[in-house]
Amino acid sequence: MEDPYTKEELYAIPALKPDWALIHVQKSDPQGNAQILGNQQFDVEMTRAAQKGVILTTEKIVGSEEIAAEPERTTIPGFLVKAVVEKPGGASPCSCHPYYGVDKTEMSRYMTLTQSQDGLREYLESTDESHAQDAVTK
């Protein structure tokens, strides 16, 4: 479409409007005020785009004072967050800086198995769920 000021021809791209954003973070307080360390890729944008809110998994839930001591790092505000789940290792087999890198063995298993529907089922059934914990729903 035409830029009304410069008359230049521009593209208008419709906004993505997800209902929910599911984000894994390094640190969150119980209210969902959360810090991402290292690269954040699109995570922060996803938290803003989610219409119904954000569901956080976090390496650890820490006290609000610890989060509030470094406000510049707290890019996810609790008022956008609907639930916080403490789930150490929750990003695995992907990485979570500085806690762990990519689990290459598990990633290969995932990529091999998920080439077929049967393999996908096998992968899902064999994936360790022992760490699952109850959500802290706000």
Partner: protein
Amino acid sequence: MGSRLASLPEHVIRAGNQMAVTLSRLIEDGEKVFHGVNSPLPMIAIFLAKKRHAPNCSLIEVAGSVDPKPRFMPNSTADPELCHGAASMFYNPDMYDLFARGGVDMAFLGAAQLDKQGRANMSYIGDPFQPKVRLPGGGGGAVIMPQVKRTVIWRTVHDRRFLVPRVDFSTQSGRLSHLVTPIALFEKKSTGLEIASVHPGHSVDEVIENTGFELERPSVVAQTHAPSAEELGALEELDPDGVRFTEFRF
């Protein structure tokens, strides 16, 4: 009570406290609340609401911090103390984006002129090319007022220069909900701004006399609840230096 506070005239103290609690009571628990720059009264009102009836409301500071825990109340609402102990940072692009998505419940904004239909002037008084007064401009007001769920306008003077039949320029308008002045609380109805209640010590005649636009005289004049002892105690604790009186001239 701070030394500066001791030197304030009684009527300023009464008006400042009445305005702070009246603004504060408009906030509901859990709401996301914003105030503009140079807004000591709304800032104190929000901290008061958080301390009393709305502990889970979120204050989004114009400079980017959310729910700061300042060690003292700064005179300027752009003071870096308003970053201390913040629960998170939510910078301007995020904030305007949240306004655009209808995610902000309430905004406290100022105005130099306001008319009955809720048009607010922050641009100029007089001839646009040779203005009598050049005002600071609306900042984000022109996009905030149409997008926020409700706007509350406040001003520490109530006279016919402020409340005019028609603004010289409409800098911003939109979802106006209430107006709070030193003498009354107004609510925006389908007919425009009308008196909701008159503050203790003031009369409906005084309000009509000092308002430049037409007002319907209420058949029963409600009186704004005076600040309770608990509210006054909380205000004193929050703001011992009387920052809430900064904008009053006397």
